[in-house]
Structures are given as C-alpha cells and as structure tokens.
Symmetry: C2
C-alpha cells in the first residue's frame, strides 16, 4: 500500500472501539435497519452509534443527528445513505477524525451513468486526502469474527464459527455463498470483506493488511476484474508463503467478462494472463467457490505434505478407487508402503481385502483396533506424505470412527489428514466435529473432493518450493 | 438378458410377498442382525421369515430351522452365511422354489484364493439351472423404496425419500455415499442395488429390468470393471432414450485399475474405450459421484431443454458470472433475450443493474413483483431454452423466494429450471422443499453445480438427437 496512513487506519477500521451507522433505521425496508441488526445482534463489545437526524433512538440505542454530536471518537463509520449524500458524509468523517469507512451504498462507478464514476472519483480524493481507507462502495460490508464485529447488512454472518480464513471478495453473492457453506461445514473464518468498487482499498491493500493480521492464517480471494494486476502480484509476492493466498477468478467466458465490467466497473479480461501472473506470485489458483473454501480450509488446518506420496485408507473399496483416480489426475502418487507397513496391514486384514494402497479396511469394520493399527502404521511410514481416510457409514461400522479418534487426536496431523467420513444426518456429526476441532483432520463431503483437497496442499507446497519460499509454514 | 426366466424372476426378487433371511441373528456383530433390522424397521408390508436353526425367534418374529419349514412361498431369500455354506443354501432355495436371492456374503471371486472363483462358478451353475437371479455376492444388498423393502445391511437406507432414481452400483461405499447425499438433498430414489461380484445379474440385466420398472425414471450406474462391455452397450441402446442412463466409472488411474481387479474381480481397464463405447450407446458419462446424483436428479425431475440457450437470473452478480463461465465451458450459450423480454427487464430494473443476461436482480430484492415479472418474461421468451435462478440469502432478500414461488409452482418447469437458492441452515429450507416437491425446480448447492447440471440436460438432449432417440421423454 503506497499510503502508510491508510494501512495504519485499516487496523482501526477492522478493530474499532466505536462504530457509527450513518443512515441507521428501524424500517426493515432500509439497509440501515439490517446493518443495525447485524451490529446489535452480533455481540460486538464496542459502542454502536446510530446516526439519523430524524430519530431519537434506533433499536433502543440513543441516536445522533450527526457524527459530530457524538462526544467520543469514532473508529469506523458504516454509510448506507443514497449516493448523492455520501460526499457530505465523507467531509463530516474527515472533520470527526473517523479512521475508516464501510460504504455500503451503490450508485457509483458500477452504473451506466458517467456521473457515478465522477462521484466515486470525488469520494476517492476526499478519502485519500483524509487518509481514510474505504471498504466499498457497492458492498454488503465486512465482518471481523474475532471481535464479533458484523459491519454488514447480513446479521446471519455472526453465526459463522471463528477461525483462520479471511475471505476477500469482489462479489457479495459469492461472499454469502461461501459464508453459508462455511457455516454448514463448521469452517472457521476470521474476516469476510466485500470490496465492491474498491474506492481506495483493493486486493493488494487487503493482502498486505491481512499479512499482519494475527487472526488470519489463509487469505482467500474471489476476483472478477482487476485494474492493476501488477500491484496484486507484488503484494502476493510479499507474503513469501508465510500465509497462503488462494484465488478463484470468474470472467473467463465472453458474457462473464462483460458482466464484470457492469458489475464492479472492471473488465475481467485476459483471464489466462491473470491466472499465470497470479501463479507466478505464489497464489494458488482454483476453479470454483467450493474449491476455494475446501483449499483455504486445508491450508488453514493441515500441515503441508513433504512429498506427493498419498496413502488412501478406505472403509470401502469404491471410494478408495474414486480418490485414487483423482489423486493421480491431480499430480499425487499413490504411495507404495514401506515393507514394514505392508506387513502390519497384511497381518491386520484378511487376504480377501485390498491390502495394498488404496487399502480397503472393509473387513475390519468390526475390529476397531485393526483399523487403528493400520492408520498408525501408515502414520509412521516415512514413505507416506499425506493420508486420506474415507469411510461411508453402514450400520455395522458405526463404532469405527470413535475407534480411531483418540489416535488421530493425539497425533494432531503430523502429516496432513483429509477425511471423508459420511453418514446419514445426526449419526457421526459429533465424532467428526470432535476430530475437526481437535485438529486431527478436516472432513469433506465426497472422496473426490477429499482427493482434490489433499492434492491442493501438495500443489501449494510445490509452488512454494519452486518460488523459493523459505519461511516455514506456521503450525 | 439371455434368460427370460431370470428376468421374470427379477420382478419377484424386487417385489416379494415373503422374504427369508438365511442367517438371521440377534447378535449385532453379525450382518444377519443388521439385515433383520433393515427389514423390520423399514415398514415392509410382506412377511419376514428369519431362518436360523438355533433360534425360536429373531427380533420377536418366529424363526425357522430351514426355509422348508416355512409353510408359504418365499419370493426373496437374503443370504448372510459364510461362503462355504452357500451352495447348500442355493440347493435349498431351488427346492423351495425361491424366485430370487440377495447374496450378501463375501469370499468368492474377489479373494486371492482360486477357491473363491471356483465356489462362485458353482453357485452360478446352481442359480442358472434353477432360474434364480442373484444380486451379489459380496454386496450390501438392495433397497426397493417404493414397497419399503430394505434388503440391505444398512437400516438407514429406509430414511431415503421415494422417487425416480435407480442407482445400480459395483461399490457399496459409493452406494452409501450417494444414498446419504440423496437424504441430505431430499432426492427421491426408487432402488439402490449393489451388484457386488455379479453372479448372474450384471449391469445389462439391471438396465433391462429397470427399463420396465414403472417406479424408475432414470438409471444411474456406478461402474468399476466390466467383463462384457458389449452386453451393457446393447442393453443401454435398447433404452432408446425412453429412460436416461447416466454412468460414473472409476478405475482410470493405474492404482484404481489394479484395485478394481481385487475389489470385484474385474479389471477396470481401457477406461477411455469404455467411456467412448458407453457414450455411443446413449449413456451420459459423468466424472464424480456428486455429478452422478445431480445429473440423475435433473433428468428425473426436469424436462429436457430444446436448445442450448440458457437464461441466468441471479440475485447477485458474482454467482451469475460464475454460472456463465461454467455454462459456456460446458457448451451452453448465454441467451440473448428477445427484445420484448429485454424491454420488460429494463422496465423492472434500474440502469445500475446488469439487465442483460446474466441478469443481476439485486436491485429488486425489495420488490418481489419485479423479480416475478423478470422470471415470467424469461419463461415466455422463445429464445430461452433453460433457466438458472441463483439467489444467495441476505437479510434484505428473505422474502424474495416466496415472492416468486407461486409463479414457478404453477408453471411446473415448461422449461428446465435449475436453482441455487442458498441460505444459512433453517431459513429457506421450507420454501425450497415446497418448490422442489411441487416440481417447480431442482435446487443445488453452488452456482457452478447448477450450471453443470443444466448443461448435463443439454448434453443428454444433444446425444439423444444425435442417436436418433425418438421416444418422447416422459413428463
């Protein structure tokens, strides 16, 4: 970020003591209502300052006619007023010494009318002069889960579990999609930030800021168009593989590219060029929102594999075969076990099983200690770099997961463990949650996705080596 | 099927009045326990006949020392005894006039020992001579949801909703995976059949049988190895596109191929050749279990598009772009709306929105009738062959889905409608279920999957045209 004041103030923007809502409302037809609901129901510990000249109070909080009337300092102002009123508000923010703005209002560079672009440029001048970083305009806002700050128009974002993934997105829709996926998969998030039209806070600024954010372990980007791809490349390179950066970019299609221009005022354009450039900067590239989340989660919660040799331990043969196919297609090798490991497995499984990799542990369903013994042998096998554990529930293997839980919980992924432990609703939910929360593994919904996820870890490790990333990945 | 007696008896196998369990048990460590639990808790209306020489009763049902002691006819015998006892049981079945067998026991062609193959060959001779079709050996069994018959060792399969998808699978693991996915997505199933080692009922027999099964609208196959690919091709060709056949095959990798041999006694081998051959026979080929289910569901519940022109109506721009990219990559065209349609949309949305396809209906969140008007105009547009409706929940658009529900429910997919309506758990669940159960649309978890699913419908339609499929797809 060229402007160190903006970067400094970005810290306050995400960690304010007092938050003003300019356009706070009790009318559910106004976004100012939803923003107030997000803040008030989100357990935020700081002061909430509704600003509305026509109200004495909003949602039982004393309201102010203007920010100037509030006696204390305001770290963050969330603005939800019509576009034409925003320049005046920016001037007021500057006078009040506000440190950061989340500008939710639309009607700027993204509209057909050139007045929109002009207005946005006026705002940028005002904000830059005052040293105020601005998230938006044309955004749902942002959420900082670790301080329970929900500065968005979606109160339900406060339901998200806290964790290490920061999602920075050019689309509110993709942010919501990924947020709801994270809720359903119990995936912990640090921040979700909707960049919108990027007045003066763009992807490079966010990457630089998040590099220094102790709550963020992985930076996930959803991109459409980029005005200055080189700046993002520079920022990504600065991460030096200390924090993984993963990106999903749309706009590869003719219509998608056109849509990007209208949506956020940037051409998606030259998709392949961006893809290559981002890869060179150490950004891991993925091709769907689902994969963006799966990959970010794996990078946040698993160690990196030291090599490409994967062990596939499956409760049934079919899922093991499906995972084998995907692993090989994605550049992993199905490990040949060390002879000692193979001997242990041969002792624990009858000859009718697939005892070489991928291992079919089916015949040991009733024998929790056999399954545990196989997993232990593979953990200790220096010829194995990563482990997939796949098991589909059947009435007869109900106890299998709890049978190997303690071993995995104690081991805490000295190698990455990606699992696909799948049962009807309500059956293994508790066991899987305990394993995930104990750092024993991550669980994904299909064997194919498990294979893609472990392969993504290896792809990141390879990229890191190729680029000479030297800083050890923080455990 | 070469043997018409076997095919005739297959009908009884799937629709028996009385079912015997040879090896019924009250010991949870025996599969005979789980099979009895499946039958007794699955609401099956017929007679359940536990056979166990050492028990007077099993799970409160009178038990018999042998099938011969049961006074009535037995349509189906489920066998869960050790392999070496099975030939004797087959002879008993023949004497008793049993019409079909589900042979769950393992230890036949799939084991390293040549005795296994020999035993299987002996059983095949016995069964063929008696005209008894056999599902298995080495299988979890089968389920016929429409008569509440759970002839498997997994009682939870009875939780599945009833519907039109028949899944025939060479893997118990993949069957369970897909069954649990279907439960979570409220996807209706007619039958799940685990073929195991395919004694005398193989994929071609099942395809031929299911062609005549009134409860089945779509046949989904999970394949590993095939002994006689030509026979499956012939059977698939006979379907003449009356019932779609979709297939997912693993074993493309080196290790997967080897695993297939050990798992079910067949080499997966020559993957590409099989893929091409199946396509030529009118089988739609997919590359994951998830896609097998998504595609089968779409083919069961949506009409086929008449062309490749898709309309993408999105509540937010980003998901619309993601879907556009995937649609184009998968061979769909993003439709240019008829001028009349475009005029309606331009009247209903402000200029700041993406009003051309993909349409961003974001600015109409608060205006249910505007969203309804856009959907109606696109429905009636003869330049549109299929519709995607994508909407990520935000507090402010909570009412949007119920706002367009009546229109879609009344229209009942005169063109295919694939949706991605996604909210935090508990918010839109009821609305989405009502739309799906009313035949208004199918809902999938991501915009990318929605796009792939609608593209699969078009790929099937194209294949049908290319192959001269003439029978109209039954609505």
């Amino acid at each position: 970020m060229s402007n160190p004041v903006l970067l400094q103030n970005l810290k306050t923007l995400f960690n304010p003591h007092a938050v003003a809502v300019i356009g706070a409302s009790e009318n559910p037809d106004k976004l100012g209502f939803h923003v107030m609901k997000s803040l008030t129901t989100g357990r935020f510990k700081g002061t909430i300052v509704p600003v509305n000249p026509g109200a004495k109070s909003v949602m039982s909080l004393p309201a102010f006619s203007s920010m100037g009337d509030f006696p204390g300092e305001i770290g963050l102002a969330i603005v939800v007023l019509p576009a034409k009123l925003v320049p005046g508000i920016f001037q007021e923010c500057s006078r009040k010494g506000v440190k950061g703005i989340v500008l939710i209002s639309a009607g700027f560079r993204e509209i057909d009318d050139s007045q929109g672009a002009l207005l946005q440029s006026t705002l940028a001048d005002l904000a830059n002069k005052a040293g105020i970083p601005v998230i938006g305009p044309n955004t749902f806002g942002m959420v900082n889960l670790h301080i329970d700050l929900n500065a968005s128009f979606t109160p339900e974002f406060s339901w998200l579990p806290k964790g290490g993934i920061a999602l920075v997105s050019q689309s509110g829709g993709i942010s919501h999609l990924m947020g709801f996926m994270a809720m359903r998969q119990n995936t912990g998030v640090s921040k979700i930030v909707g960049l919108g039209n990027r007045l003066n806070v763009d992807f490079p600024e966010m990457v630089t800021y998040l590099m220094g954010d102790p709550d963020t372990r992985v930076i996930a980007l959803y991109l459409e168009g980029l005005d200055e791809p080189r700046r993002l490349m520079e920022a990504a390179k600065q991460t030096r593989f200390v924090k993984p950066v993963v990106a999903y970019k749309t706009g590869s299609s003719r219509t998608g590219n056109h849509a990007s221009l209208s949506h956020t005022g940037s051409l998606a354009g030259r998709h392949e060029i961006y893809e290559g450039a981002l890869r060179q900067s150490g950004v891991l590239y993925v091709d769907s929102a689902e994969r963006l989340l799966d990959t970010a989660r794996a990078l946040a919660l698993c160690p990196l594999p030291k090599g490409r040799e994967v062990a596939i331990l499956s409760g049934q043969a079919g899922p093991g075969m499906a995972a084998s196919d995907v692993c090989e297609a994605e550049g992993m090798e199905i490990a040949t076990f060390h002879p000692g490991t193979q001997r242990v497995i041969n002792e624990l499984l009858p000859p009718l099983a697939l005892r070489t990799n991928p291992v079919d542990m089916g015949p040991a369903w009733y024998n929790a200690s056999a399954i545990e013994g196989i997993i232990r042998a593979v953990m200790e096998d220096s010829d194995v770099d990563a482990i997939l554990i796949l098991m589909m529930f059947a009435s007869a293997n109900r106890a299998a997961v709890s049978g190997f839980s303690e071993l995995l919980l104690k081991w805490k992924q000295q190698k990455p463990v990606v699992a696909c432990l799948i049962a009807p609703p309500g059956i293994w939910d508790e066991e899987v949650r305990r394993l995930e929360e104990g750092g024993a593994l991550i669980n994904v919904p299909t064997p194919e996705r498990a294979a893609k996820t472990v392969a993504a870890l290896w792809q990141y490790e390879k990229m890191k080596r190729r680029n000479g990333g030297i800083t050890p990945y923080p455990k």
